[in-house]
Amino acid sequence: MHDAPQDVLVEAYPEEEFWQDLLKVTGGLTNEEMARLAIRHSATCRPWMYKHGVRFQPSLSGALHTARTNAFFMGGGKALINAYFRSAQALGIAIDYDCTVVDLEVKDGQFQAAKAIHQLPDGSQREERIQAKSCVLACGGFESNLEKLKAAWGQNEWGEWTAENFLVRGTRYNHGVLIDVLRDLGADMIGDATQAHMVAIDARAPLYDGGICTRIDCVSLGVVVNKLAKRFYDEGEDFWPKRYAIWGRLVALQPGQIAYSITDAKAVGRFMPPVFDGTVCNTLEELAATLGLDTHTFMQTLNEYNQACQVGHFDHTALDDCHTEGITPVKSHWALPINTPPFYAYPVKPGITFTYLGLKTDKTTAVHFAGRASQNLFVAGEMMSGNVLGKGYTAGVGMTIGTAFGRIAGTSAALSVKSQTGQHRGPEIDNPSLSKEEHASA
């Protein structure tokens, strides 16, 4: 959020608007105190990020309606991570690579030690017990673990294992090992295992790490049909940055977990070019046949849609007045008949970014056991995103949660160490330093 233009951000994105956006996408499945904490933090965290080497750039060309709400990392997420790691190294922090934490020792809700496995260059493994006065867990969700996703999503009405068709947008390493460990240790959990940030991405993306480039941004410029060649949702409900995150789940609920974004020549040049070439045909019949869809149903769907279009003044940069009448689902905006060859199709599948099931926590980010806050075990990032996101997503909120609660968890951990060495009071008490941190975010 920002109340006035801030370097790369234009106009204002006030706290209340951000909160209302979040409330809308989560359908109320959020915690107002935690959400507002993250929102306020986003107004002030950027100088700190800058200090640690992160650079920002204006909204990317072709990213509609984000110049006001989203500050983009220059170079993207890997550049951000490079900067943080470089900064950590400069502070003298040791970083172990090829090392997995597989277990935790927790006694009476207090962290004792972590068990880590090092993968050595010769292929062997070395086990290490890492003792510490406090610990911050930031291990991601379980989005890379297709077995767990399969179990969570189960079988659908057609007997399909829904998650078998998921693609993982990011790392292959987030298996949710420590989420399971902590649940078994009796930590308080939050969230639904099927809830996640899910985007409809190009079905031809690699299973892991397809990242941002596999996005398909032409949904609102055409129609989307499932493998039965039928439309299933309002493609023009709202601006794409406010809607892209619901389409992953929408496609996940379709038979075969696949859908096709259909556009015509009018859409070319009006959206971010996709990473893979689309299927291009000169007639809609040919397009349906090439995609392996039932031509009759497909033509019926498209003809009905085309006839239902009430064309007004098309403007894909505004919520225009082009809409449909008399069909279900409706298309609320940008409804132009798909009638100008060549016709394009892009196959989409659910792309999972990160899962929301995780550890219940409070504004200190302490892990809780039966409602009691741990004095020295904290959690940040995807592992606790469910405290803010019960479902849904709004562009950039993942990074907001990661940054805000990452910093708070670090502060809490440092205060915990201080209190253990007798220099300070515990973090669960209304600690002056922590309040200052929150105050700085306000």
Binding site: S61, A63, F73, G75, G76, K78, D209, C213, P273
Partner: protein
């Protein structure tokens, strides 16, 4: 019959070079399609803003963008699609591979483009030939007039050796860049150069803007840390080179219009320009050479290291021998220093149109077109009005 058809097709393809991409060009097009769907590197340099104006990449677009790329490395270190990712995106490398092909393609006369295939060897041969020439011309002569190198070789003789080569360089590079411009101008809107565009391009060239990483903290060299040293060392080199050139030009004016002959006394304009320029060029080239040797192996095309280092070494040699020549006045080292200095300059002149020097000319041309193109409407409707 199939073989025949294939041969006919190949012949047809060859006759339409702009429609058929070479492997290196296809690789750039493949990678840019990934980049164009991501766009997170947009603020680093000119390449990505040029990319977002396009939905596909034809040969002339690729030639243009390859020369916009400064091989700064920022996008490589930021890229989530760089190796070990299967997409194996490495824009600095793929652009470098095309870039050298553009020098080859547009070189005049065309057969001289072949010198880019083994450029280190070519530079070494030119240096060897020049040394042989000037040693044979200078060293056997008596050295009574130590302190005055025109006693060793008259001004007119020097001019008769260097002027034709230099004028040829201007012609060859001029024709090369003209051919390049003819190709990329239609691909960059075709619009004429305006004063604001020319001023902006001049600023971008003279300040080496696109080695600043977009955040003014510099580009990458051996790792993902930003450094301004590449930009600084290039400035030492470039401005040192210009000062040396200015020194020679001023000296020529002194010679013909003031009747004052070299060597010039300390404090005179040619001497000050020459010494300051020579020192700057020496510092710059040693710095660039050091940075080049430490450069991350994924930056650019390793096969071009001999060309890069050959050019850097030759410039360093010109600067170093020039300074030593000045210091050797009045000593018995004068003839040998004069021979090596003139030989270095001659080798530099011989290789100017067929070596790394071309990068400055082609990149400047691309930057001018960039400043023109960015002022034209895109035809794409990707942004809010």
């Amino acid at each position: 019959m199939q073989v025949l058809e294939q041969l006919v097709k190949e012949a047809q393809d060859l006759s339409r070079p702009s429609l058929v991409l070479a492997d290196s060009e296809r690789e750039v097009a493949r990678q840019l399609q990934i980049c164009n769907a991501c766009r997170y590197c947009e603020s680093f340099c000119a390449v990505f803003p040029a990319m977002t104006r396009r939905l596909s990449f034809a040969q002339n677009d690729i030639h243009y963008m390859a020369n916009l790329c400064h091989n700064c490395g920022s996008c490589l270190h930021a890229c989530q699609y760089a190796e070990p990712h299967d997409f194996a995106v490495n824009i600095p490398r793929s652009m470098a591979q095309v870039r050298v092909k553009t020098y080859e393609t547009y070189a005049w006369p065309a057969f001289m483009g072949a010198t880019y295939a083994k450029n280190g060897l070519w530079v070494a041969l030119c240096l060897f030939a020049s040394l042989a020439l000037f040693i044979s011309l200078l060293l056997p002569s008596p050295t009574q007039e130590a302190g005055n190198f025109y006693g060793l070789m008259s001004h007119n003789t020097m001019v008769s050796w260097f002027a034709p080569v230099f004028l040829f360089d201007v012609l060859a590079l001029g024709i090369g860049v003209y051919r390049f411009m003819s190709k990329i101008t239609p691909a960059t809107s075709g619009a004429a150069v305006t004063t604001p565009a020319a001023l902006e391009a001049t600023h971008n060239i003279m300040s080496l803007k696109y080695l600043d990483g977009g955040h003014h903290e510099g580009c990458n060299n051996e790792d993902d840390a930003f450094t301004l040293w590449r930009q600084r060392m290039h400035h030492f080199t470039f401005y040192g080179f210009l000062l040396c050139f200015a020194s020679t030009s001023v000296a020529t004016l002194y010679h013909y219009f003031l009747g004052e002959q070299a060597p010039y006394a300390w404090g005179t304009l040619p001497k000050v320009l020459g010494v300051v320029g020579g020192l700057s060029l020496l510092v710059g080239t040693l710095g660039l050479g050091w940075l080049n040797l430490k450069r991350h192996p994924w930056h650019g095309d390793l096969k071009q290291k001999p060309m890069d280092l050959g050019f850097i070494a030759l410039l360093a040699l010109c600067a170093g021998t020039g300074l030593l020549l000045w210091l050797s006045h009045g000593t018995s080292f004068l003839p040998v220093m004069l021979a090596t200095h003139l030989a270095s300059i001659m080798a530099l002149f011989l290789t100017l149109p067929y070596g790394k020097f071309a990068h400055g000319i082609y990149r400047s041309a691309a930057l001018i077109r960039f400043s023109v193109e960015k002022r034209q409407p895109t035809g794409l409707v990707l942004k809010e009005d």
